[in-house]
């Protein structure tokens, strides 16, 4: 190690074996609970406990079956919970991309009164965690009115508890998404706007035909950063959704866990709501990592 020549070997190669051993140990450290969960979801309870004392706990060996999974579907409306979460996440993502990119467009490319005020609010929301106003928000949404269409008559109802909209609308406008779009839009030359205005395009046309088609990476980042908290949301639906029909997956599994029936089934349910996200992550690894990285660059 003392006679190393910096030209022939890149610095990282010199870290050599100890570094590599450490990296491998860390792979085991960060993956064992997830591997254990996946493997156990196929085993009967007795075998899960029996395998604990040996490496078999992490291996798909013994009597494996899908019984835990079928039992979960028999006991609880797990499909319904999955569909609820998919729906809530999808609508939040689509509305979020639309609403936040429009606001960012107005902020970054147009002059209007109220611009400064919106920027201030956006920056404030970045440092105030949701948990600080979640409880007053529960009280507030329990009082909010809503127009409901019954046949041909509109009726005014009070209270947003136990609805889909209460799971979606509070999370649509997002300061961080506005911020990301804003940063990205700044990099698109403004001369394009002027040229388009001369050609008779309107501001909305510029947004739709010029700026948004050039903003693919920003859209992907916002989609990912909206998806993860939407899919994982727990505290909020725990408080505002009582109706089992509207329950999302994380609250669903919490209730299932409290019944404390069978660890095999709990692991099956856990795997069921984790594997789709893991699959998405592995498929779009680069986008995921870049999204997270971008959240740090301009804190």
């Amino acid at each position: 190690m003392t006679t190393e020549s910096p030209r022939s070997a890149p610095p990282s190669a010199r870290r050599g074996l100890p570094g590599h051993a450490l990296r491998v140990v860390l792979v085991l450290f960060f993956s064992f609970p997830v591997v254990f969960m996946l493997v156990s979801s196929f085993k009967p309870d007795q075998q899960i406990f029996g395998d604990l004392g040996s490496p078999r706990a992490f291996l798909p060996v013994g009597s494996l079956s899908l019984e835990n999974y079928t039992a979960v579907f028999d006991r609880v409306p797990a499909v319904r919970f999955l569909l609820n979460s998919v729906g809530v996440s999808a609508v939040t993502i689509v509305l979020g991309i639309l609403v936040n990119s429009l606001a960012a467009f107005a902020l970054s490319r147009m002059r209007w009164p109220g611009r400064k005020l919106l920027l201030t609010v956006v920056i404030a929301t970045l440092i105030v965690p949701f948990e600080t106003f979640a409880l007053p928000l529960v009280w507030w949404v329990s009082k909010l009115p809503w127009l409901e269409l019954n046949g041909f008559s509109l009726t005014l109802t009070e209270g947003w508890l136990d609805t889909y909209r209460v799971q979606v609308l509070p999370f649509v406008a997002n300061a961080f998404s506005i911020f990301l779009f804003h940063q990205y839009f700044q990099s698109i030359p403004k001369e394009l706007d002027e040229a388009a205005l001369i050609d008779g395009a309107g501001w909305f046309g510029i947004y739709r035909r010029i700026v948004m088609p050039l903003s693919g990476p920003a859209i992907a980042t916002v989609a990912i950063l909206t998806f993860l908290p939407a899919w994982n949301s727990y505290l909020w639906p725990l408080m505002v959704v009582q109706d089992e029909e509207l329950r999302p997956v994380m609250v669903g599994i919490q209730y299932f866990f409290q019944l404390n029936v069978s660890w095999g089934q709990i692991m099956a349910y856990s795997s069921m709501i984790t594997v789709p996200v893991l699959a998405l992550f592995l498929a779009f690894q680069r986008s995921f990592i870049n999204s997270i990285a971008s959240s740090g660059v301009k804190g």
């Binding site: 960060f30 606001a103 609308l169 001369i198 501001w203 866990f257 692991m267 893991l278 990592i289």
Partner: protein, 311 residues
């Protein structure tokens, strides 16, 4: 607009009248575009934050036939005498005091380990990041099993020490319950901040490292005088985000221990949810929220100040 009028070459340089009409049009359209976001932020951020302040001084309940009354500082006086609340403040601080440095440090170590070009960089980053994409609810459930008295963790301890050390019943023992939650939380969150550190590391010009290694400087010195100063902005961001999420501790507690045993894992947010939602005392929960809000604000400001001064 008729076809006979030639298009203006540059709208901004047109005569005064046209200019202000264009400006006004621009303003109206911009407000229309920003409108939905402004409205949603107003209803779901500005008003609720304002309510946290206002309701804390009232007797508001979640579902109540009588309207809320102004009660002054009564809720805060009650907080000051509530032993469970005081315990939750203590626990929250203890949790943050350990998680913030340990998670930030571990994440930086990971980032340094996987920063560079060698075979499998991507594989290692991906695996270290897996806990981050696993929901905290699922992580908490799986670890509840691992932490059982007869669970996997104690079996591993047993095997490694050849039966000399007997692991405790981690989550049901008041002396280990919070530590168990700390350990799991660091495990889950480290990958996230590893990515943030990596992004920071990549902003440091490679020439600086090359120059240092040609000069034969030791790896530690290089870290101390090239890498560490180059991570200043990242450092502030990492510290503040970990602190805020540590102060917001709720999910792990609600899934794993419900604040127990003997209030050893109860936290500020957990208490706020308990009083505001389970007991429907919105006003009392708002007072807790307000305390929480002020704490987060103070800690963020202090950290921002400290990290700024050092360099």
């Amino acid at each position: 607009m008729t076809a006979a009028v030639p298009p203006l070459p540059r709208p901004r340089r047109a005569r005064g009248g046209t200019l202000s009409t264009a400006r006004r049009r621009e303003g109206v359209i911009a407000i229309g575009m920003a409108g939905p976001a402004v409205l949603l932020l107003l209803v779901f951020f500005v008003i609720p934050v304002g309510l946290a302040f206002a309701l804390a001084f009232t007797s508001a309940r979640l579902i109540s036939p009588t309207p809320a009354r102004f009660v002054g500082l009564r809720n805060f006086a009650m907080l000051a005498e509530d032993p469970v609340f005081l315990r939750s403040v203590l626990n929250t601080f203890a949790f943050a005091a350990v998680v913030v440095p340990v998670q930030a440090g571990l994440a930086l170590g990971l980032a340094l380990l996987v920063n560079g070009r060698f075979r499998g960089t991507n594989f290692f980053r991906t695996v270290y990041f897996i806990p981050v994409v696993t929901s905290m609810v699922v992580v908490s459930i799986v670890w509840t099993f691992l932490y059982r008295k007869d669970g996997l963790l104690n079996r591993i301890i047993d095997a490694v020490t050849f039966g000399h050390v007997q692991g405790p019943d981690w989550l049901n023992d008041p002396s280990t319950s919070l530590a168990a939650i700390v350990f799991m939380s660091v495990w889950q969150g480290a990958g996230f901040h590893m990515i943030i550190w990596l992004a920071g590391l990549q902003t440091i010009p490679a020439e600086l490292h090359e120059a240092a290694s040609i000069d034969g400087v030791s790896r530690w010195t290089r870290f101390r005088f090239v890498t560490w100063p180059g991570l200043r902005a990242t450092r502030t961001f990492v510290l503040i985000t970990i602190t805020i999420s540590a102060f917001s501790l709720f999910t792990q507690v609600n899934v794993m221990t419900q604040g127990g045993p003997l209030d050893s894992t109860t936290t500020l947010v957990y208490q706020a949810v308990r009083s505001g939602y389970q007991q429907q005392q919105t006003a009392y929960a708002s007072a807790i929220s307000l305390v929480f809000f002020v704490l987060v604000l103070i800690v963020s400001l202090v950290q921002r100040h400290l990290t700024r001064e050092k360099d």
